[in-house]
Assembly symmetry: C2
Homo-oligomer: 421 residues x 2
């Protein structure tokens, strides 16, 4: 089961979508995938991405204190030299987290094996792992997958990478945009993401790799990536659990010959990058484990954006709201109850709650803190729709924030009660 | 479905359990219940508790900003005069929350109706409601229940109250202890609780009423109650959602003729009160919505108790841990991952995780942050047991905290996806 992807905002000026190709859509990137047996199904579980020239790189990682070996390794690699990254190697089926020193050695081995297979140095390779936590990762097994993935590298290997890194995902997530830069020239941005459980605002995707043929120095790339992630991946939640492995990488290889330069060009690139991240984040939430329905929760009228975000997240992670969403049950009192425990001060008597604000005739459920008698049939129909947009107005200021979440279904329980065994 | 209640610590000195009678076990209390049709099943849904003489009263309420009308009313009643409470009236099936001014009037009407039925003043009556949020409460309907409940008042009506206030509970929760006071004399403490969903540490039970025939002034009663609740009801979690209605009331009518006086007597009473609250809290968590298994999470080696509690709660509310528990799946990596996102600083390389620490041979899963190879068959059996006790040692200090939680099952989703409709 998976939900319909929710509607997207309009793309920023100058950006247009490109047919699926994901990370290999920008010039100068190749990808390949292979199976090494980490997935019991025998499906591909090792992925390799190669930049044909040295690329600038940036990364945003989980803020969990318990971090997986590949996250520790990528942080060190980027801190040492982020100007000449050549490859990303990843595996699905084993997260290489909580695996101690043996796990650290396995991540280093993956890095070295990918370097050997692509003819670069280990310190030019970033590593990703996703899957079960706490199980030892057999680097020799992964090595066979890396060799086979390297043999299959091609300029249209992007979709294969998006598939190989899937775990409980029901569909691959990828997108690509072409961007006409102000002042002339164009660049391409592509990306893939995977993640369906252990998804939470603190770094909302397990793994995402983004590529561009723009030429951007690493420090600027890092700033742009962090800003884009904050507004997108960090605004979706599936289950409130933050992973030990969450990683978003962005590689810029300059192959388009386009630099950003002026602030107008930087702004255009930033907007396109944010649109790409949002597109992937919304693909993730609509493929949340067991998801059948997506809600968009906008909190406005807050004193500060952080307050609006806190209230929106309290609603978006409430098991009671999420199970009501699963049942298509218009139990809107749970929305107010979740807002009230968010730890943000507001006056309940000024609350206003609107359902389906995008529709011609939105339905007001609460006004001045008082319930408004709504037409029951319409209320039920709006809550049972595949996409449930809500606006909660705190009546307390002008700040606003939006979070997307999916419902909490029987399938979520089924998937997670049996995942590790 | 409901889980086996977990093992209890030994009772404090001088306390002994009494056969079930709940709130009417102490001298001078009467109770009755009746049906007014709020429950579709036709089961009793209105409860009335009467103290034969004026009682001192104390209350601990939800910290949710969105509070139900009866909570607002009880706060005002206790603030005005907590020395001469005579009755508690409650209903199940409708929470009278998010019901605006009409809800406030309905709560006042319940208070007045109960006063009339028991021959006291409205300001001597406390009010409780539990059930669906956001639906108008018909006070005239409840009035018929109050009249019938008053007609059935008796000194062994305690169990009827515990039953009448059940919503998704599968069994009533009640307990009573006799306490021999240091220096002579004895008092009795009794209590009931209800709550199965919307249960969270911020005030872990929807409703609990405690009674005693000790003579305790209201201010001291409030201090004793707040301390007991903090260590018990606030340490269990079912779903992390804090209710709009959570209320614990304690009535002390002095009918035993025993005052507390010396600090040894106060300490003995405090310990018995805490044991009573813990007993009811553990009955609640083992009857959590859909619960089949209970886990006890002790975090020790923390710098401050607040840190230990924060980490224990992060684990206890993690949907991934709770679904693993539902599956009896020894996916212990999720415990570390949840700890790591608790917002508490610790050194992952000093973590130690022990399973079944009460057993003759506890199983160590993690030591110095490194996984310890455990005997798989024994690990699986311990995780599949009805009670799963864990100790996570942060290796960082001497503070400790314990939280109890239940698993997240298909039944939780089933119950909550359809509850409101």
């Amino acid at each position: 089961m998976a939900a319909h992807p929710p509607p997207r905002p309009a793309l920023p000026a100058g950006a247009e979508p490109l047919p699926a190709g994901g990370v290999t859509t920008p010039a100068g990137f190749q990808a390949g995938a292979a199976a090494c047996g980490l997935k019991a199904s025998g499906a591909p579980d090792v992925a390799l991405l190669l930049s044909e020239v040295d690329a600038a790189a940036a990364g945003v990682f989980t803020r969990n204190l318990v971090i997986a070996a590949p996250v520790r390794l990528d942080r060190a690699t980027l801190a040492s030299d982020a100007h000449r990254i050549r490859a990303v190697v990843g595996n699905a089926g084993n997260a290489n987290a909580c695996t101690g020193e043996a796990g650290w050695r396995a991540a280093r081995t993956m890095q070295a094996d990918a370097a050997a297979a692509t003819g670069c140095l280990p310190e030019q390779v970033l590593v990703l792992s996703t899957g079960v936590i706490g199980a030892p990762l057999d680097a020799a097994q992964v090595a066979r997958g890396i060799a086979a993935a390297a043999a299959s590298l091609s300029r249209d290997g992007g979709p294969a990478v998006a598939r190989a890194l899937m775990t409980t995902d029901t569909r691959p997530k990828e997108a690509a945009f072409r961007l006409a830069l102000p002042g002339g020239g164009e660049v391409v941005l592509g990306g893939m993401a995977k993640g369906a459980g252990m998804i939470h605002p603190d770094m909302a995707t397990l793994l995402s790799v983004l590529t561009t043929d723009a030429e951007v120095p690493p420090a600027q790339l890092q700033t742009l990536l962090a800003a884009a992630v904050d507004q997108t991946f960090n605004r979706v939640t599936v289950d409130g659990d933050t992973s030990t492995n969450d990683t978003v990488l962005l590689l810029a290889n300059g192959r388009s010959g386009q630099q950003l330069g002026t602030s107008a060009r930087v702004a255009a690139f930033a907007a396109a990058l944010q649109a790409l991240c949002l597109e992937l984040a919304l693909q993730i939430v609509s493929d949340g484990e067991g998801a059948g329905r997506v809600a968009r929760i906008t909190v406005r009228g807050a004193r500060r954006e952080a307050d609006a975000l806190e209230v929106a997240r309290a609603i978006a992670t409430s098991p009671l709201f999420k199970t009501a969403l699963a049942g298509g049950d218009p139990n809107w009192g749970r929305i107010l109850a979740a807002a009230g425990r968010a730890g943000v001060a507001f006056a309940p008597e000024r609350l206003r709650l609107d359902l389906a604000p995008d529709a011609a005739a939105p339905l007001t459920l609460v006004e001045h803190g008082e319930p408004v008698r709504a037409e029951n049939a319409r209320l039920a129909a709006l809550f049972a729709a595949p996409f449930v947009p809500l606006i909660l107005d705190l009546g307390d200021g002008t700040a606003t924030a939006t979070v997307w979440t999916c419902d909490f279904t029987h399938d979520y329980v089924r998937i997670n009660a049996d995942y590790g065994t």
